[in-house]
Amino acid sequence: MLTRRLVLAGLTAAAFGLAAMPALAQSADPLRLAFIPQENPEKLLGDVEVIIGWLSDRLEMPVEGFVTFDHAAAVEALRNGDADISFMGALPFVLAEDQIGAVPLLSEVYRGAPSYAGRIFVRRDSGIESLADLRGRDIAFADPISESGYLYPLDLFVRDGLIADAEDARNFFGNSFFAGGYQQAMQAMANGLVDAAGASQYADLFLSPEQQADVMVLGESEQIPSHAVIARPDLDPDLQARFVEVMLSLNEAENRPMLAYLFGPDGYAPADPAAYEGVRELARRYGYLR
């Protein structure tokens, strides 16, 4: 039974079962997938319905999907067995790995790589030419539990010797905001509410085409493992392997349209646990991991 905390407000009827396969539904426990909302939870609900139908067909077993409030709720669902698998960013994954032993199954692929970067964006006409120029200026980050929308962009300032740590950022910036997402942070910057935004490499695509032409990249982090699909540690290894196999079939031409229902990556690659070492190290340095 899902707790209220696990399910997005107003969407308590959002657990989709697969009615088309009654025989299987009676004979097997469903595979339960947790989805974390991005900018548009209502669209995600429709997407979940489509993708779990497809997965159920391919896995030949019932699949259920539900949308959680946030990463924390998804991790809690994995911990208590309400969810078997969840979609998750690299930073929350390494925290989930630490807290409940979650295992990475797949990595999203964008532009041919299972990795991306965090960036600092400014307006082209701002006169700001370096990270140092942002001293005393206002910045918007996406979310505190975000690798590309907070920790990695923030770390650029540490690496340049401008701040010592997250706490010291208060002394460096004028105002620092968590805008609630990439799009909000980028819009705040593009509309002149703040001087800079810390967000994903691809976050300028949240702006209108005209706004995109008006912004520039001030700094870019090292590559970060892309968002992952993770499982609770005690999920049947055979089922994990079957799930990975089916998900990798999304890379085949005939299945690629389904990617649009899964946060829209270009494809999936098998996860490499070692690839997250940089994220773990950064999370330790900022006190997120012991």
Binding site: Q38, E39, I145, N191, A203, P209, G264
Partner: protein, 617 residues
């Protein structure tokens, strides 16, 4: 990263005058109903049936998909219902404004109460999504408040804090900051959107009431309502240009290239069409149609609209709700007369009619009309090996189609002994160049004469559904059924199927859609088009034609920048911006009469174009 798809799916409609339109983020039902109220309320005549639907039914472009009225308080619901029943435009505007204001304020209040829980973020999201309904009005009429409130929303988001992940990375909510920012927004809304009494107004807008009362002059950018889709059809139709198939390069045909540019340019239109970036190609994608095009209140269904209503050119408003299905322009040199009612024998005159009367553009120059016509006369049909040069079926056609061909050429008593082929003459591209009254339009008054409509070609019609002048029939089979019923042809079911198979055979075409793959990307197509348009500067600069250069630059430079947003090779995006800047510099020098500098900038453009061409995908 996960939001990459959403970046595309949830983008905002381009507000500048360029031809790149991207999908709009869904609206909350109440915000959508408010925006539809503004849009429909400004049409003449006001479409009250659509206004009722806007509030009482789930509308396109909203999420979640429930009706706006279903989630209102008793008082708000009564106010909306009373206004709809009274058919009082201003009364509905006031009620709608109050609905949105109440929604924002109550969600903000709820968020404050729930601060420290996930529900606070959900309520704040809902409040922000409703505020979107007012945002453009505040930005245009009260920019200082727009910035102040924008910062307040940012402070609200930040003040929510974060639970982190099981405590890790947690940030406590900032109760004081939240309360102060909430109060700033609520107070402004109360003063500007919940006044004791609204000032009378001719035009409905989202502008704040104090700006109206103070007589502030402002200009809110034209916006289309929720549910609009003016982005290109997907999949994009394939364009067949006669010269191109014959192996010639458009860059060597400057008149055609300039016409191609004009076909993609909102600059030749006026009023809302120009502001919205609507061009000929918006409705006529790649010489064919845009079957996805839809504007609520103007389109009865996707793929067309009422072109003589009050929105685009009030002067041309015929006060009638008469949606027209967008015709394909494939083979247009062979399909005179023009207009669904065949009112113009000349493509040139009809083109002028579209620019000036339908879309409120300035009178086009002879050169512009020459260029547009030169370009459009290159549109050919998609090749179709199932018919020969005389329009007869070939061996590639099915048995059913061959049986249908006999029926197509058979005279029927119900059609005064005429056959389908009498009007859709196979050897004349399946049309006769005449207009006919088939009873598809009502007479304008009792005893009056109904409009006659042009016989459309049947070539490539497999890709232009729906059918008839008003798009009232969804399939070719339904067209056959309609003729069978309307003219008492007495066809058996199998005969109707054969006739449909025949229509599908003559209506077919090879490779109907543009395929994008790898480096042959959507941007690559735009890049090649736009740089070809720019190549007409090789002709215009020696002519020192500053007007045409200004038009070209105003069309191509913004489009280059806008289209860069869909590049596969995002790393090369800044180079496209630099190239667009060079084109702007050509325009500036031309406008200044500095022809030497204009020439130098153009040479720099060509050099850079060649240098970066490899990376342009």
């Amino acid at each position: 990263m996960k939001q990459l798809l959403l970046a595309i799916a949830l983008g905002v409609l381009a507000t500048g005058a360029n031809a790149t339109a991207i999908a709009e983020a869904p609206w909350l039902p109440r915000a959508a109903a408010y925006r539809l109220t503004l849009f429909f309320g400004n049409l003449t005549p006001v479409p009250w049936d659509l206004l009722e639907q806007s509030w009482q039914q789930p509308v396109d472009g909203v999420a979640p998909a429930h009706s706006a009225i279903s989630r209102l308080s008793e008082d708000d619901r009564s106010a909306i219902t009373d206004a709809l029943q009274s058919r009082d435009r201003n009364m509905l505007f006031e009620a709608a404004t109050q609905v949105v204001s109440h929604g924002i304020i109550s969600h903000l209040d709820a968020a404050e109460v729930a601060l420290g829980t996930p529900q606070a973020a959900a309520d704040l999201d809902a409040a922000g999504a409703l505020y979107r309904a007012f945002e453009d009005g505040i930005a245009a009429a009260d920019p200082e408040a727009s910035r102040r409130l924008g910062l307040a929303w940012l402070r609200l988001a930040s003040a929510l804090g974060s639970d982190g992940l099981n405590g890790v990375g947690a940030i406590p909510a900032n109760v004081q900051d939240f309360a102060a920012a909430r109060a700033a927004i609520s107070d402004y809304l109360t003063a500007n959107y919940l006044p004791e009494e609204f000032a009378p107004r001719d035009r409905l807008s989202s502008a704040p009431e104090t700006a109206i009362l103070n007589g502030v002059t402002f200009d809110i950018p034209t916006r289309l309502p929720p549910g609009t889709n003016i982005a290109d059809q997907s999949p994009l139709p394939r364009l067949v240009l006669q010269f191109e198939e014959a192996g010639l390069d458009e860059a060597d045909l400057p008149l055609v290239a300039f016409g191609d540019m004009l076909f993609d340019s909102p600059e030749i239109f006026g009023g809302p069409a120009r502001d919205l970036g609507i061009a000929c190609s918006t409705c006529h994608n790649r010489s064919d149609v845009n079957r996805d095009f839809f504007i609520p209140g103007l389109s009865a269904h996707a793929g067309g609209m009422d072109v003589d209503g009050s929105f685009f050119n009030p002067l041309f408003n015929d006060l009638a709700d008469d949606h027209l299905d967008t015709p394909s322009l494939r083979g247009i040199r062979f399909t005179a007369p023009y207009g669904r009612d065949g009112r113009e024998a000349s493509l040139r005159r009809f083109t002028r009619n579209v620019i000036v009367t339908e879309f409120a553009g300035a009178e086009p120059s002879d050169f512009q009309l020459d260029a547009l016509v030169a370009y459009m006369r290159q549109f050919d049909f998609l090749p179709n090996p199932q018919i020969d040069a005389q329009g007869n079926l070939t061996d590639l056609a099915s048995e059913a189609a061959l049986r249908g061909e006999v029926l197509f050429n058979t005279g029927f008593d119900g059609m005064n002994g005429n056959s389908c082929a009498s009007c859709h003459t196979p050897e004349r591209n399946f049309r006769d160049g005449l207009t006919h009254n088939l009873g598809t339009a009502a007479a304008p008054f009792l005893g009056g004469t109904p409009i006659h409509f042009d016989t459309p070609t049947l070539r490539n019609i497999n890709f232009t559904a729906p059918y008839m002048h008003d798009g009232s029939l969804p399939t070719l089979a339904s067209v056959v059924d309609w003729f069978d019923s309307e003219f008492a042809l007495g066809l058996e079911e199998a005969q109707r199927a054969d006739l449909t198979a025949y229509l599908q055979a003559v209506g077919d075409g090879e490779d109907p859609y543009q395929i994008f793959e790898g480096r042959e990307s959507e941007f690559r197509l735009a890049w090649e088009e736009l740089t070809t348009f720019a190549s007409t500067l090789n002709t215009l600069l020696p002519m020192q034609d500053d007007d045409s250069i200004a038009l070209l630059v105003a069309t191509v430079a913004p489009d280059l920048r806008a289209d860069a947003s869909v590049m596969v090779n995002q790393a090369a995006k800044t180079q496209v911006y630099a190239l667009a800047d060079l084109l702007d510099a050509v325009g500036t020098a031309s406008a200044d009469g500095n022809w030497q500098l204009a020439g130098e900038r153009w040479q720099a453009f060509e050099a850079m174009q060649a240098e970066i061409d490899e990376r342009m995908y």
